[in-house]
Symmetry: D2
Subunit: 336 residues, 4 copies
């Protein structure tokens, strides 16, 4: 078993997808043990650390990578199976940020109102008990919320020689901020450049639907990823698979366009997998599908469309990559 | 126990919220056994019954009502507890409809492309086994989906002397098309006119998230509703409560505004219930909240924001109306 | 010549389209001399009169009407030619209003930020010199802007038994708030109910594009309208015609849908008038068309699509109603 | 006078803003005589040349540049004065393109309907008479439209190490597609990287508002630009100035956000220029401003907000760069 461990130095962190040289090369079939910093680069450590003071644009939302996958070429699909996602510290933070979030004027939803107060919340993480503890800032209210670790950001270099801030989700992946991207899930990303050049980051100890205030329970992570490559199979938008579901994503504005992209991809994908014509697949997804919100705060909004594989007759997708990667993950786990 | 049964004649069906005389009067505390027709008025019975031929605009999406609730005045809140929702026939239908649905040009998302094919699917409903059976039209593919009966449409007369087509969801309720509106749920609606004038309709044997093709598994229903009135407590947008969750709704376009309305209401409501200031409540809902999509196909789109009551310290809302109505429902059920 | 004069008492003002009995009957061919109050019902008279204090929801944006047009039936088109629009007082007002306008959170673009300051500006109107004088509130800056009187609101009773607040623009007309609706223009409105039931109101001494702060230079008006009826010719969305241009309107959210509706109507209308196929008309409108913004602040946003008649070969539309009404207007003017 | 002439070879054309080495260096004060190819790279020459066949993604919308401006640093503003824009050939083309344009489903407004027919129109350009001649494809209808040459695309390298397809407009400029960008106009662009790295392209012989079908009357251009640099004056979004107007742009989705950005920038800029507080400036722009639509078809939509300088007291902006550049242009013109 090929296992690679990597923890970036601060200088090695990346802030774009595309436009940067690889920090390493990996072969398909590799298990990668990665460290990712939180979206603030670890600089917000107490409620006194206002992000607008301790962070500097555009050095936000750092990702670990990019990694060059050997043999990956445009038209292929990269499969990343998230074996485990484990908070690296016993605390995490969340904040408001001036003119960022769904319930405030922003850079693009431009308004004359002054920004909301910038405020930091520090969560205690208890991995054994599986909880993140919320503490109100202006009262003694406190509550335990279940941990549900995930990565907000995963992606490859974009097409068309673009280079995009890590905060933007689009067809190349990026900052989709969907809680569906948890351990046990395989992410499929269409390869746009030689080597695919993937990165991951923005770990969340947990996140509500839509990340309405603009940030989740932001945590540095120790994450294990299994890497696979499916040759000559393209993927138009990031897709996810777990043991029960197939999922399509869409990232755009307005939010209905993110919904449309994800549903359109799930309908046409389901048609291809089942032999249904597009209208029959449209009907089936309409009644059987789910649509968990990713984010409604980033530069593009993200929606996920998902359907139980059982309702499609349990098709095998991407040459059974998910099953193979899950098996690899189990061998890795048992070998530790 | 005060029990009222009502099945409308075709002439008694309503097609607006507001602008119509009551079909009956009910006292708070009443159990109502209601029959509701499906959104096609029962006219689409086979795959040959194209809705554009057998239905006539604006006689779509009929509702049962309006009912005048004794003592209801503007500024009060009407509570409707859905005791049971049972398909009235052993079949249901779903269709595409020209220029309606999320993945087609529409009346407002106006496009020059010709409409999608109009097609009808007929589902077999098996109440004992709890399944709706999908049959593809252009292949022999078939699959059983779990029944999850709900009402797409519930509402009161709007404010400001408005009268709105039943197909439109807004602050008065209407065609929200959320699967969250199932049996066991209490819906809270702000009263705008004397008597509240509520109606319900548009039963779905089940529905995917967003009702992407424009219709669900449309079914006539036998539905039992328990009615309560909370005096001098206003409600800005329809809210829902079940044993575990508080929910706010928002209906608007674009979809992010439906999201904003629902999240804003849940944040400010949570603040009022917990004593948290708005920013602390914003943070808590951001990490603990869910955001199930209602519809992305109607004249307004609908989003739901929900949070477990346990995370708010288990507050009692609306004078514990949900608990009282659930108790009433149990007495009703045991008396049958 | 049939001339009718009408000035409503405060009790006769209307606040909806639909749902109200006619205040008068008119025959096609009539000249109507009408008085319209401003959108505040004349209650905001000085900078101390904050609208949230002196006005009461839903008694905003009053209109004069509805008028029953003899012989009008669903499927016909009502033509209203604006002969003249003259401010009735030597002052006008504009204001911000809490949570209303394009650069603030609103009822639907719900935000946690506090509202902008509510402030009133009083303009001096000089009809002889044709100017409205702006005075800054917090400095001695002052500037003369040209008068360009228009009506923000004109419409008929909606279809489908709906009744809509006058503040909402939709297919029935309503609060479109386009500066294109000035004297010399004929407005075409599809008739939905017997008698058409048209009303007008919301005079503006002038307005910027989009009415960005939420209100224009709001003025009571003395307005002369010539009424015509085109039998058995339907109109899907309000259209306008002046001596040089044909115009289509669209009112919806998001703003691109208002744009799509208006452009779609102009393209299909141009195709019908010229014999071009839809794609050739799409191309011609794409290069020759203009798209003045109406409002970006109301419950629906409004866009106008316009094209010079000359580029379409100078077609006659609606049985030359505009030409006939302009002639009638000239006879009226010369008779005074 | 420093005059530079440059015509790119096909290999020198650029398809992104950012991520490319300069094709040349220029000093502030230089007059540049540039050749720009049309958005199809000159490959669509007859109605038989369907762009989806003769063009290859992402080699669309080529720009001439980037040029390194000596001394330009982040925080400065680049001023480009368009001295003249002259079609380089006696023909131009326009097309529909599958899943592109405002009245069709697209990549992001994803729909299941098949695309509109792909069709090419070839315009005759007559520079002497100042007309572009439209010829219908499916009839013998023909009409002369006035030439109004402009550039759809102008911009600098983006911030945050991004590289963006030339088809995307954003804060760095790009494919704004506004007819306001004609000869006689000065464009102000905030500098994000050393040397600014500006490019221009996408000439239009004329364009309707919104470029509704997705393309304008696309023409290769001979364009003369005068270059100036304003040190230590930042510019948040592209701004334009001509002899009469100040203009701000906004590019985003949905379209109301493009409107909000442009109006917000014009309001805050006007406040800074006049000494009005923001609310007084908001009021003045609301009544005096115009809002010409740029594009409603690109990956971001573009709106322009403009106000007559006279209404602001005729302020001097950007150290009177427009006046100085216009003078330079006149000296250049008289020297020829």
């Amino acid at each position: 078993m090929n296992i690679v461990s990597y923890q970036p130095t601060p200088e090695e962190l990346s802030y774009t997808f595309g436009g940067r040289a690889a920090v390493g090369k990996v072969r398909p079939g590799t298990i990668m043990e990665l460290y990712t910093e939180d979206c603030f680069g670890g600089r917000v450590r107490s409620v006194a650390d206002l992000p607008s003071r301790v962070c500097e644009f555009p050095y936000l939302n750092p990702v670990t990578g990019p990694f060059h996958v050997e043999g990956a070429e445009p038209g292929d699909t990269l499969a990343l199976h998230f074996v485990s996602i484990t908070p690296a510290r016993d605390w995490a933070v969340s904040t408001t940020f001036p003119h960022f979030g769904a319930l405030t004027g922003t850079h693009t939803t431009a308004m004359l109102q002054p920004p909301l107060e910038e405020r930091v919340w520090r969560y205690d993480l208890d991995l054994e008990r599986g909880v993140a503890v919320y503490h109100a800032r202006n009262s003694d209210f406190s509550v335990e919320l279940p941990l549900d670790p995930m990565h907000g950001t995963v992606g490859v270099a974009p097409a068309a020689n673009e280079s995009r801030m890590t905060i933007t989700p689009d067809a190349h992946g990026g900052n989709m901020d969907t809680p569906e991207l948890r351990a046990g899930v395989t992410v499929y990303l269409g390869v746009n450049v030689e080597g695919a050049m993937f990165s991951i980051g923005d770990g969340h100890a947990r996140q509500g639907h839509g990340e309405v205030c603009g940030t989740a329970v932001e945590a540095a992570m120790r994450t294990v990823v299994a890497v696979e490559l499916i040759k000559r199979v393209p993927t138009p938008w990031p897709r996810l698979e777990d043991d029960l579901y197939l999922m399509s994503t869409g990232s755009a504005r307005p939010l209905e366009d993110a919904y449309r992209i994800s549903q359109h991809d799930l309908v046409t994908w389901s048609a291809a997998l089942t032999g249904l014509d597009e209208l029959d697949a449209y009907q089936l997804v309409s009644q059987a599908g789910e649509a968990p919100v990713g984010n409604v705060c980033d530069t593009n909004y993200t929606m996920v469309a998902k359907v139980p594989k059982a309702y499609l007759g349990g098709p095998s997708v991407y040459e059974s990559a998910h099953t193979r990667l899950r098996d690899l993950a189990e061998r890795y786990a048992s070998g530790r």
